[in-house]
């Protein structure tokens, strides 16, 4: 009996190895090779337009990068973009989750409508907002403003970053809603009922029961959104191309400009390393939280 069990275990170990090998090997390659190359390139003089300039550069690329005002503008824009979108989507998503948890006729359809923007490809949502909503002459928003006697706003030239924030929030609010709505459904009805019996108003119930219950889901939403929002690209690419000036250039777009438009591989790689470090600061917390959940 013990013999067969022991044999079973070794066979199991072998089986585990062979079953996991393909996925693990490929992911390992996918992670290590480009990562190592990015770090390596970031230490090299490597510009596709100047092939004669090669060799080890040490930290020169980083020095240029960190003394380039464009980097700080881009960092500032990245933080503003991430911060505003997070605030809007988390607060809005929580309130909407509470709203769509209430019983009302057609709730199911209303939920589906509210979640839909998350499934629209980024280039489509950016173009729909750019051309049909925010266009200064023919957009719905300017038409609305004019019918109220207000001047039409030229969104992308006068409020470029705000416009991007609006578009990105429109895409990610449904994500927050979808996750938080799922989380709120596991809220114990009896607990809410008991609180109500004790005379707690809806506001008190929200702050002392609903919000603590959603705490974990909210932090998951914040971390996942952060990782994606740090490198928002398509929305900027399609609408403003980082302009006017550098007004809507974030870190991802700056790296794109350096790599594929200026062909400065060394500088772009240094920027890439910065982006990776930023994302990993967030990622550590997320991985820890998921790990805790895996144990329970």
């Amino acid at each position: 009996m013990t013999k067969t069990r022991a044999a079973g275990r070794t066979v199991g170990g072998l089986r585990t190895l062979s079953l996991q090998a393909p996925a693990v090997t490929l992911l390992l390659l996918w992670m290590i090779v480009p990562l190592a190359m990015t770090v390596w390139f970031s230490l090299q003089r490597y510009n596709l337009l100047m092939p004669e300039m090669t060799g080890f550069a040490g930290l020169e690329n980083y020095r240029y990068l960190f003394t380039d005002p464009a980097l700080w503008t881009a960092m500032g824009n990245t933080l503003l973009l991430v911060g505003s979108v997070l605030a809007i989507t988390v607060v809005g998503g929580t309130l909407l989750a509470v709203l769509f948890q209430q019983e009302f006729p057609g709730r199911g359809v209303a939920r589906v409508l509210a979640i839909s923007p998350f499934f629209v490809m980024p280039t489509v949502s950016a173009l729909v907002w750019k051309n049909m909503m925010m266009h200064p002459a023919n957009g719905v928003l300017s038409w609305l403003a004019e019918s109220f006697g207000l001047p039409a706003v030229d969104w992308f030239s006068s409020l470029p970053l705000t416009s991007i924030v609006i578009i990105v929030s429109w895409q990610w609010l449904p994500f927050a809603l979808l996750i938080l709505l799922t989380a709120i459904q596991s809220l114990d009805d009896d607990q809410v009922e008991a609180a109500r019996m004790d005379g707690a108003g809806p506001v008190a119930i929200f702050f002392f029961i609903t919000l603590p219950h959603l705490k974990r889901a909210i932090s998951v939403v914040i971390m996942i959104e952060m990782i994606f929002l740090l490198t928002i690209f398509a929305e900027i690419f399609v609408t403003t191309s980082g302009g006017p000036g550098l007004a809507t250039t974030n870190l991802a777009y700056l790296i794109y400009i350096q790599a594929l438009l200026d062909f400065d591989v060394g500088m772009a790689s240094a920027g890439g390393v910065v982006a990776i470090i930023l994302a990993n600061i967030v990622a550590i917390f997320l991985v820890r939280m998921v790990a805790k959940n895996l144990e329970s």
Binding site: G12, T16, L19, Q20, A23, V24, L26, P34, M37, T38, L99, Q102, E103, F104, G106, A110, V112, L113, I115, S116, P117, F118, F119, V120, M121, P122, T123, A126, L127, V128, N131, M132, M133, N138, W170, L178, I179, S186, A217, V220, I224, T231, F233, A234, V238, I255, Y256, A259, L260, G272, V273, A275, I276, L278, A279, A283, L286, V290, A291, N293
Partner: protein
């Protein structure tokens, strides 16, 4: 719900003899509350959905009506759809999207099923670490590795090919697919597979005849999430493809330059590009939360 309602109503009836006036105010306020909720819920849902609705509507307008003052009243026409279809290239891009999304999903499933199976049913001390490590590869921002991937693809001739994009999407979605499958497999009672093993089923038979049929809904929603993510992906597709292998995300982006001339056609093309994914998303929204949050929210 209806029983709960009768219960609360009965409860108020009980108190009614004591406090007659408060009962009527309670009832009217409950009704106004319900009415207010309905109005608020629907208004917000419609506001959020409005840009999509407007886009679909614009697709049925003529180009001149599309840039005229916003109006719900117009004579619908299929002219833009016909025009988009007539430009044969739309199908080329759509085909690229289909091939890449399906190809990467099938590849990811094929790689992930054995891996998730062994993690769920033959766990070792390293399983947890492997799962978390897979999750952490998702945290690598694509822009951080854009340069090396671009140069590698250029050197081996994968730039602007469907194969290249399929490889990228497969690896991009692999961690999510493994995680989602793992959570679905773990929910399956172990005894069922045990019984199969007792009857002398090999691992392959066990997976093909027991595991896969029993977890088919989970596998299907995992596959759908992978299709959705690949279909909508717009960083790699914009940077790694130009004309031959460009999927719909890149095709739609090409409308951004000749501004204001082709709104109806852009809308028609966009509607066709997002319609299937919207339906997939609606169908799998519940199970999708697992994959998107790596099992942290269920």
């Amino acid at each position: 719900m209806s029983t709960a309602k009768t219960k609360t109503l009965a409860a108020t009836d009980g108190q009614a003899s004591v406090a007659q006036p408060s009962r009527t105010t309670w009832l009217t306020s409950a009704r106004t509350r319900r009415l207010g909720l309905t109005a608020l819920g629907w208004t917000i849902a419609c506001l959020i959905f409005f840009p999509i609705f407007w886009m679909v509507l614009t697709g049925f307008k003529t180009e001149s009506a599309a840039i005229a003052d916003p109006s719900l009243i117009f004579s619908p026409t299929l002219e833009s759809y016909i025009a988009v279809q007539a430009r044969a290239d739309y199908f080329k891009f759509a085909l690229n999207s289909v091939v890449v999304a399906l190809g990467s999903t099938l590849a990811a499933l094929a790689l992930a099923i054995p891996s998730a199976y062994s993690m769920a049913f033959l766990p070792t001390r390293r399983t947890k670490g492997t799962l978390l490590w897979m999750l952490s590869t998702k945290m690598l921002p694509p822009v951080g590795v854009l340069v090396p991937i671009y140069l590698l693809f250029r050197d081996v001739g994968l730039l602007d090919t469907r194969t290249g994009l399929t490889i990228v999407y497969t690896l991009m979605n692999l961690p999510i697919v493994v995680w989602m499958l793992y959570t679905f497999f773990k929910d399956l009672p172990k005894d069922i597979l045990e019984a199969g093993r007792m009857d002398g089923a090999s691992t392959l038979q066990e997976v093909c005849f027991l595991l896969l049929p029993l977890t088919l809904p989970g596998i299907a929603s995992t596959g759908l999430l992978s299709v959705i993510l690949s279909w909508n992906e717009a960083f790699w597709s914009l940077n790694l493809t130009s004309s031959k292998a460009a999927p719909l995300t890149a095709y739609i982006a090409s409308f951004s330059s000749p501004e204001g001339l082709f709104w109806a056609k852009l809308s028609a093309a966009s509607t066709m590009a997002i319609a299937p994914i919207l339906v997939f998303g609606w169908l799998t929204q519940k199970q999708m939360v697992r994959g998107l949050t790596f099992g942290a929210v269920k």
